[in-house]
């Protein structure tokens, strides 16, 4: 797939739960209807940043709502979340994000 079809979205929220040092967490795979979520520590930051690359263009409003709800659930601080999406539904995106958060030390259950 050419990158011409890829849409890049970025969101940032103030964190609530500072994560202690954690190793990067990777869940999911980049395949049709699925996505890969990578959560990495962002030392010194008190925010949670989302960077999304998706093959399905035009769903910015839904992405924003999905990551906003995720952030309301977990409130990660000092973390960067990178998403590579190939047309996953919001249900799958939310599930992957929650699975990734489970691996982050200090995140709420």
């Amino acid at each position: 797939m050419s990158t011409a079809g890829i849409e890049t979205l970025q969101y940032e929220f103030p964190g609530r739960h500072p994560a202690s040092a954690f190793a990067p967490v990777l869940v999911g795979v980049v395949s049709s209807g699925n996505l890969e979520v990578l959560v990495e520590p962002a030392p010194g930051s008190d925010r949670c940043t989302f960077r999304i690359e998706t093959s399905a263009r035009g769903f910015g409003a839904i992405w924003e709502a999905v990551v906003r709800d995720f952030h309301a659930r977990h409130g990660l601080s000092g973390a960067t979340v990178s998403i590579h999406d190939m047309g996953a539904t919001p249900a799958v995106v939310s599930l992957r994000l929650d699975q990734a958060a489970r691996g982050v030390t200090g995140a709420r259950p």
């Binding site: 399905a56 769903f59 409003a61 839904i62 709502a65 999905v66 047309g87 539904t89 919001p90 249900a91 799958v92 939310s94 599930l95 929650d98 699975q99 489970r102 259950p109």
Partner: protein, 557 residues
């Protein structure tokens, strides 16, 4: 005017037709058996213009040889037939309209031919009387759509004309009964003629002609779902169904609609259901085709009985070896019966759960899409409260109490209610939202000139909407506004879900009308495919002890 009325014209007409067949077929007719090569001549001799003809098109079994023969009749003799049949599945089922052999149609389901049927209707090739549920159509066979001629399929016949249907009896008894006892004529295609049948499913004196078919009748494995294709979201929704509905109401008697959503539930019973201590408390009695996905639950001792609408290819040996659970004949093989199983599903089950394509904010759901006239099949009878039901069960009483709490007068009179669950992911493929302001069914009704939009399950009958976001219990909603917000509250990130009144939804959640996975004690991160009791077709075969023999298209190992 003094001529006394002849009260027996139908019997006379029947004798005339039988004599005509004997005359025209000559030595090609031996007793009731007709030479295969003379099948078209048989139909030419039997049929008259305008006849109402029941061509056996079932959900699974097809009278395909007779369907092909019907497309070859002499249109100078046979025309304007009125076809009455359950399922339009084969191209020949529509060819007869294009060829001018038939002109009217009353049916139930046309899944595989739905797009072509819509084109033929638009082109004026046929008039549809009505689209029915199976039970309605069977009912009308005995009222105002009685067939003059029935063309049915059986596994075998003996020399007398007794029929053995094998496990896929399906619609045959209903069709033959209506035809044979109204001076109609019954023609059966059979795979073989034998001296002694394993059992008699249709007695010989209800059958007029038997034609050996050159190839066995077609049959489709419609209810086989490969566990490898079940998603984590389907696992999550299945967990919610089991814990939030089945366990909550103590559902012991039920019917599952077709699909991966319900296959996931079946495969979670021996794992997740077991971990909740639910064995023996839910899912003991079923109106269900022999779903391969139910094998692990059966093997784990969950199931006490299963009555089936039809059979499922590959399940024959497994069914024979588990005859305590299935309805089987003295020959050991399954006896299915669509009419009885539909009645069982409607009146003797406490819950129906099925998937849908679209739902509106009143809870009406439909699988109709533009340009396709697909019909209903059995879902509306399974997925409707049985208003005539009078026997009680705990699940039925509790649903009735929830729906009537606080009401007076006629609407508050104590009675039970069937649980009707619509299980749907908020987005379908290609990000098509499942929740919509207006069902496509309305536009289809306008295009095809239907009296009503083809709604599969009416919102009035739906008791629970289950999505990945949670369960909306519509029984507890007291106003249309509450119902709308309850549905929006589980509609996820669809436009209708995003436009929810957040405060109203939180209020419904406080009242238990909406329940999220966490409200049910379910951690969404536990929803993995590892919970499935079988994760592949091979696992199902293994679980069956090698008795289940999947058709080749499902043998992917």
């Amino acid at each position: 005017m003094n001529t006394p009325r002849d009260w027996n014209t139908r019997a006379t007409n029947r004798r005339e037709r039988l004599a005509r067949v004997a005359r025209e077929l000559g030595p090609a007719l031996a007793g009731k058996q007709v030479d295969s090569a003379k099948v078209v001549a048989l139909l030419d001799a039997v049929l008259e213009p305008g006849d109402r003809v029941a061509l056996e098109g079932n959900n699974q079994k097809q009278a395909d040889f007779l369907a092909r023969a019907l497309t070859k009749v002499d249109t100078a003799r046979v025309r304007d037939l009125h076809m009455v049949q359950s399922v339009l599945s084969l191209p020949e089922h529509l060819d007869v309209f294009e060829l001018g052999i038939a002109s009217r149609l009353d049916f139930s389901f046309s899944g595989p031919q739905a797009a072509r049927l819509a084109r033929l209707v638009e082109g004026g090739h046929l008039r549809i009387g009505a689209i029915h549920t199976y039970l309605e159509l069977f009912g009308r066979y005995f009222v105002d759509l009685t067939p003059k001629v029935a063309l049915v399929a059986a596994q075998a016949a003996d020399r007398h004309g007794n029929l053995y249907t094998g496990p896929n009896t399906e619609d045959t008894p209903a069709i033959v009964e209506a035809t044979a006892f109204s001076s109609g004529l019954v023609i059966a295609q059979v795979n073989e003629v034998v001296d002694t049948l394993p059992r008699v499913d249709i007695p010989a004196d209800w059958v007029d002609f038997v034609v050996p078919a050159p190839t066995p009748h077609l049959i489709e494995p419609l209810f086989t779902r490969d566990p490898a294709q079940i998603s984590e979201i389907q696992v999550l929704m299945a967990m919610m169904a089991i814990k939030g509905i089945y366990a909550e109401y103590g559902v012991q008697r039920l019917n599952h609609g077709i699909g991966f959503d319900t296959a996931a539930i079946e495969l979670l019973l021996p794992t997740y259901g077991e971990s909740l201590g639910l064995k023996g408390r839910i899912c003991s009695h079923w109106a269900l085709n022999p779903h391969p996905a139910l094998i692990p639950a059966i093997e784990a001792g969950w199931v006490q009985s299963i009555h089936s609408f039809g059979s499922e290819l590959g399940m024959e040996r497994y069914i024979q070896a588990r005859s305590d659970l299935f309805f089987t004949g003295a020959d050991g093989s399954l006896r299915s019966n669509r009419a009885f199983s539909q009645a069982a599903g409607h009146y003797a089950c406490d819950l129906f759960i099925g998937s849908t394509l679209q739902m509106d904010l009143a809870g009406n759901s439909s699988t109709a899409t533009i340009g396709r006239i697909a019909g209903f099949g059995g879902a509306p009878n399974m997925g409707a409260d049985a208003r005539g039901r009078r026997h009680a069960s705990d699940a039925w009483l509790r649903a009735g109490r929830e729906a009537r709490r606080g009401l007076g007068g006629a609407r508050g009179t104590p009675r039970g209610q069937k649980l009707v669950v619509q299980m749907v992911e908020t987005f379908r493929e290609h990000m098509q939202p499942a929740f919509v302001e207006r069902l496509d069914a309305w536009q289809l009704a306008e295009q095809a000139g239907m009296a009503l939009p083809p709604i599969m399950i009416y919102g009035e009958d739906v008791t629970h909407v289950l999505t990945e976001e949670g369960i909306a219990n519509l029984l507890l909603c007291r106003t249309d506004e509450e119902r709308e917000q309850a549905i929006r509250g589980v509609a996820g990130y669809t436009p209708l879900g995003l436009a929810r009144d957040r405060r109203a939804v939180e209020n419904l959640r406080d009242r238990g009308v909406i329940r999220r996975p966490e409200d049910l004690g379910i951690d969404v991160r536990d929803a993995t495919r590892n919970l499935l009791a079988a994760r592949s077709m091979r696992d199902l075969v293994r679980a069956s002890g090698g008795l289940y023999e999947p058709p080749s298209r499902f043998r992917n190992w």
